[in-house]
Structure formats: C-alpha cells, structure tokens
C-alpha cells in the first residue's frame, strides 16, 4: 500500500527514488511476497554509505538520509 505522506518511510521512499533509482512501487500487487524493491534499494543505499546492511529503515539510515547532500543520484541506471 502507498506509504502515509510525511512519515519516515515515505521520506525514505522519496530519497531512494531520487538518489538510488527506486521505481515507484505503488502499483505493485499486495499479494507479492518477494522482498520489496524498497527494502532492496534500502540495502543498496546502506551498502553505499557503509552502514549495516539490514534492509530496514533504522535511525542511522534516516540520519544519513537527512544530511545535506548533492542532488546527483549515487547510482547510475
């Protein structure tokens, strides 16, 4: 389901779409039981920033996402 606007998860989703090429997943089936693209991209982002690769949105990951930064994506398509 779409993430509630203004939530940390929504912020993280925006961040991953902008800088790690996360495709908008709002149209995906709710019956999909595979690992979500969001969690895979989060893991990718954590690897890039040398954070613990959990695929879970934790405080340290959010802290990095909130730091001032350059607007160019970190991963090429």
């Amino acid at each position: 389901a779409p993430l509630p606007p203004g939530s940390n998860a929504s912020f993280a989703e925006d961040y991953l779409e902008k800088f790690f090429d996360l495709k908008n997943t709002n149209t995906s089936s709710s019956n999909n039981r595979r690992v979500s693209p969001f969690n895979l991209k989060l893991r990718e982002m954590q690897q890039f920033f040398r954070l613990e690769e959990t695929g879970v949105l934790d405080e340290k990951t959010l802290e990095v996402m909130n730091k001032p930064r350059c607007g160019i994506p970190d991963m090429a398509e």
């Binding site: 040398r50 001032p68 350059c70 160019i72």
Partner: protein, 169 residues
C-alpha cells in the same frame, strides 16, 4: 571514485565556464574567486584549463536558483539538496546549479561553504560521479574542509586523472 556510464568527459582540455548570476549571500568578487578556486582544485592535478567567458554559452554554465529553476530537477528549499551538476555533454551538460535557498559562506563554517560545494559539483561537471569513499570530495554528503588548506583527496585525483590524464609539468 566512479565515473558516469560511458566515461563522459570533455573532448578537449580547455573548458569554458560562465557565471550567469550571483547569490546575495556573498559579494560578487568573492563568488568569482571561490568559483575560480574550486575549478583550480581539478586543474592542479590534471591537464584541464578553465577559461572564463562573460557572454554566450560556456561548457559549464553556473547559476543560483531555487525550487523549479529551469531543469527537470527542482531544488527542495533549505538543507536537503544543496546543488547539482550535469555530466559533460552538449546543452545542459556540465551546467552547475546551486540552491539559492541555502546560505552560502566563504570564510566561515556557518551555512554551507560555497568552495566545498562548488568543488564537488565541478567534479560532476568534469565527469566524476559519486564516490563511496567517505574521505573523498566526491562523496555525496556535505562536510566542511578549510578552503585555505584544502588538498584534493587521492581518490578524487585518481578519478579525474583516469579521465584526463596527469598534469604536464
């Protein structure tokens, strides 16, 4: 370090730049000097030479803007994204935009130091993508380094030299 797909770079070592507008945060002369110093960071370790022009279209068009500012990548207000620059190519390629909603400084640690931001963005304008080395200038997160003692980190030097070669001495 990393480069853009296809190792995008300028076809010759003489690269032109133009400052299209200024931030009210700093005197114009200071912006001119900071931009020159930030380009020199890359010229010191490569054969690149930067030539300033005051009219017409330069390879690197430099501007300050806020929110939607004429490309497909609007800025986001204070903090968050500070600036962006496009990889070398015709048109928008090489162009470097700073978010006017930030407070830019040149001699203090308050706000965001324009030299630090500009030197990073010019790395993109010359063909470098983001580095995963937290000590590199091309690491995507802002950190303050004293411009008067700044030395280009090894990772960035190797990156720019992989595209343009070493400086002829």
């Amino acid at each position: 370090y990393s480069t853009f797909p296809g190792n995008l770079k300028w076809p010759n070592n003489n690269v032109t730049y133009r400052i299209e507008n200024y931030t009210p945060d700093l005197p114009r002369s200071e912006v001119d000097q900071v931009i020159k110093d930030a380009l020199d960071v890359w010229a010191k370790v490569s054969p690149l030479r930067f030539i300033r022009i005051n009219s017409g279209v330069a390879d690197i068009m430099i501007s300050f803007g806020r929110r939607e500012h004429g490309d497909a990548y609007p800025f986001d207000g204070p903090d968050g994204t500070l600036a962006h620059a496009f990889a070398p190519s015709a048109g928008l390629g090489g162009d470097t935009h700073f978010d006017e909603d930030e407070t830019f400084t040149s001699h203090t640690t308050a706000g965001y130091n324009l030299f630090n931001v500009a030197a990073h963005e010019f790395g993109h304008a010359l063909g470098l993508s983001h580095s995963t080395d937290p000590g590199a200038l091309m690491y995507p997160i802002y950190s303050y380094r004293d411009p008067s003692t700044f030395v280009l980190p090894f990772d960035d030097m190797k990156g720019i030299q992989s595209l343009y070669g070493v400086k002829n001495t």
